[in-house]
């Protein structure tokens, strides 16, 4: 992906840029809102990663508002030291697609960037999701593996659906809390891990090839190959 990073802190910018490049992305970097807006408006990017507070008169929110008003729909991820919920809401209302509070783990940022950048195509809404021999039917709300029916609870179904929609991508615990449970909170203990391992047990019981993998220091990924 071609990513524009607008971040005034040199150390954070270097760290993010290096990490994204190592993950195989091309990164352009601007240090203030004005330059960022100019670059975003004049060149083609797959993704914008914006600091919420920027020097140069144009902050992250203004930048996104301006872009959106010009019809530019490039996905935007906000990075911010402002953690208050209304700040988050403000950022998303302005046209941001996701919001990550500093300090953050790079794995969390990468997972969110990739989830945003490779959103499922909207033109052909899938009715079935498949990973290897696992099949999830969105219409009949059923899960089968190798034609064998697996009983899951509604929440487990949504959890699996989210993982399968992002098959091959890392999904972090916070992302699961936000997308599957729809809450922004700090669960203190690894409540999500317990849910995932319960789901994993149901899916892998009687099969020798596990599908849900734990990605160390990051989160979970569903994929056919180990």
């Amino acid at each position: 992906m071609r990513i524009l990073l607008v971040e005034d802190d040199a150390e954070v910018a270097r760290f993010v840029r290096k990490g994204l490049q190592e993950a195989g992305h091309t990164v352009e970097h601007a240090t203030n809102g004005r330059d960022g807006l100019f670059l975003a408006a004049s060149e083609q990017f797959d993704m914008l990663v914006l600091d919420r507070m920027l020097p140069g008169g144009v902050d992250g929110v203004r930048l996104v508002e301006t872009l959106r008003s010009q019809g530019n729909r490039t996905p935007v991820l906000f990075l911010s030291a402002l953690s208050a919920v209304d700040e988050k809401v403000k950022g998303l209302k302005a046209g941001g697609d996701d919001y990550l509070t500093k300090p953050f783990a790079f794995a969390e940022l990468l997972a969110r960037v990739e989830a945003l950048g490779r959103r499922p195509s909207v033109d052909a809404p899938a009715t079935k999701l498949r990973v290897a021999d696992l099949e999830l039917d969105l219409l009949s709300r059923t899960v089968t593996r190798a034609a064998k029916r697996i009983d899951v609870q509604p929440r487990e179904f949504r959890l699996l659906e989210h993982l399968m929609r992002h098959a091959g991508q890392v999904v972090t615990r916070t992302m699961l809390l936000e997308k599957v449970w729809d809450y922004h909170f700090d669960p203190q203990t690894n409540v999500i891990d317990v849910h995932v391992s319960r789901l994993r047990q149901k899916l892998d019981k009687g099969f020798d090839k596990p599908l849900i993998h734990t990605v160390r220091n990051a989160g979970y990924m569903i994929r056919a190959e180990p």
């Binding site: 953690s83 919920v85 509070t101 300090p103 809450y183 909170f185 203190q188 203990t189 409540v191």
Partner: protein, 494 residues
């Protein structure tokens, strides 16, 4: 005085400058000088404006009173005189019509004969020649305008010059003058005028005295509030406005001010609490992480152990930033800043979600998480914060309940609002610990071995307060050993 200084009229320039500097030097450095105690400048004084208003109203009332009095006394006498003259004139002209000149002369003589007070004035003349026929005036008063039948002039009556009110009557071939001597009435009017002048003096005096009293009473009633705000501006936050106890408008204002000051005090304490917490309790984990990293840098033999330490360091830093996040959330909730995010919600959904999230964890630890929830509990609030509060309670309960035990999450609508309860089979809290539970970073001795920041219950309490509710801690089953802990959040309806 220096010769170069331009002499200003009135006060020499250097002196004026010196005074101004002197004032500035003696002003307190801390507070803005405009807050210095003392009466405000005269023209800006609201007290003076009220006082002037009072004096003006008082004067208006006095003028109205005098006017009515005047109309009722001097005015009434004038009207009476005019009525008597008019009646007399009509009677005389009737007499002339009946009995001619002779009758009229007789009538005038009769009237003069019975006029013991010597007030009546008559003059009957021939119109053409001006010859006097009857009456007690020698000649027609001079210099009188010929307009209108009524006039007032000085005439010679019984050898004395007196003020008279006169009425002219034109009959065919005759001119008749009917009038009354007004000397006594003039005297009365003079006395009245004198009285009014004296009374006006008294009115002015009373108005001024009243104005002065009002201004001073106002200042005296304002002074406690002024003293308090000045003290607070000077840094003494414990100062409160003294109430007079009368419950009047000033007391109500003072009460409102005091409530506001209490609220500011609470907020300040919250801020101070957070900074204390940061100073004391964040330093420890930071120091620990730092020591570990430094030690690893100095002594690590191979890359493997260095990597492990760095990973541990990152985890420590994440822990610190979570504590920080929790502190900020508490501060936000306590400051009421999150009311902006309030929306109508069904608390049952939030509670069911919380139970669902933690149910798997409880099961993994060999516990049962039971729920007892009604169908619906509509309220207005911040759903993320409410979930966080219940999650903190469930997390705590699960942490302290032994394997095989149960955690119960229940909620019910009561007559005053909503009651949410989390009860566990854990060791419970001693009375002493209960008093401290909810203070930031407080951890009961028994709890020190389990992981946790000691911020969980503070946040629960802050969230409850934000929603207008409160939190109480009781034994789950009082007679049992261990009793377990029951945390009750009471939220007001609506």
């Amino acid at each position: 005085m220096s010769g170069k200084a331009r002499p200003a009229p009135g006060m020499p320039l250097p002196t004026r400058l010196g005074r101004r500097l002197g004032v500035r030097r003696s002003a307190p450095v801390a507070g803005p000088p405009s807050l210095a105690l003392g009466p405000p400048r005269l023209l800006r004084s609201a007290g003076l404006r009220f006082a002037v208003l009072f004096a003006a109203m008082f004067a208006c009332a006095a003028v109205a009173l005098v006017a009515v009095l005047w109309w009722a006394t001097a005015g009434a006498l004038d009207r009476q005189t005019d009525a008597a003259i008019r009646a007399d004139a009509i009677a005389l002209s009737e007499r002339w019509r009946e009995a001619g000149n002779t009758g009229l002369v007789e009538a005038i003589e009769e009237r003069l004969a019975v006029d013991v007070e010597n007030e009546a004035i008559y003059l009957m003349m021939e119109a053409g020649t001006g010859r006097r026929i009857a009456g007690n005036l020698d000649s027609w008063p001079k210099g009188q305008p010929e307009t209108g039948p009524w006039f007032r002039t000085r005439v010679l009556h019984d050898g004395l010059a007196v003020d008279a009110r006169l009425h002219r009557l034109e009959l065919p071939g005759l001119r008749l003058l009917v009038g009354r001597d007004e000397t006594e009435r003039t005297e009365l009017r003079r006395l009245l005028t004198e009285g009014v002048v004296w009374a006006s003096g008294a009115v002015v005096l009373f108005a001024l005295a009243g104005a002065w009293l009002i201004r001073h009473a106002l200042q005296a009633r304002m002074r406690p509030a002024f003293t308090t705000t000045a003290a607070i501006a000077g840094g003494d936050l414990s100062s409160r406005v003294a109430l007079s106890g009368s419950g009047d408008e000033f007391d109500r204002l003072a009460q409102t001010l005091n409530i506001m000051l209490d609220r500011i005090g609470t907020l300040m304490e919250g801020v101070r609490g957070v900074s204390d917490a940061i100073a004391h309790d964040l330093r420890t984990p930071i120091a620990r992480a730092r020591a570990k990293l430094e030690d690893a840098l100095a002594t690590s033999e191979d890359e493997e152990s260095l990597r492990a330490t760095v990973e541990q360091g990152i985890a420590d830093l994440d822990g610190i930033s979570r504590i920080f996040q929790a502190l900020l959330r508490i501060a936000e909730a306590e400051a009421g800043a999150r009311r902006a995010a309030f929306a109508p919600l069904d608390l049952v959904h939030v509670l069911a979600d919380a139970a669902e999230i933690y149910e798997a964890t409880a099961e993994a630890r060999g516990q049962r998480l039971e729920t007892d929830l009604p169908d619906s509990l509509p309220m207005v609030g911040d759903r993320d914060l409410l979930l966080q509060a219940v999650a903190n309670l469930l997390d705590n309960a699960i942490k302290f309940t032994p394997s095989g035990g149960a955690v119960l999450l229940s909620a019910a609508a009561t007559s005053v609002g909503i009651e949410v309860t989390v009860a566990d089979d854990g060791p419970g809290l001693s009375l002493e610990d209960r008093a401290h539970a909810g203070e930031r970073f407080f951890r009961a001795d028994k709890a020190r071995a389990t992981p946790g920041s000691g911020l969980g219950l503070s946040l629960v309490r802050a969230v409850a307060h934000l929603h207008g509710g409160e939190v109480s801690l009781v034994d789950a089953v009082p007679q049992r050993v261990p009793p377990g802990l029951r945390v009750v959040i009471r939220l007001p309806q609506g």
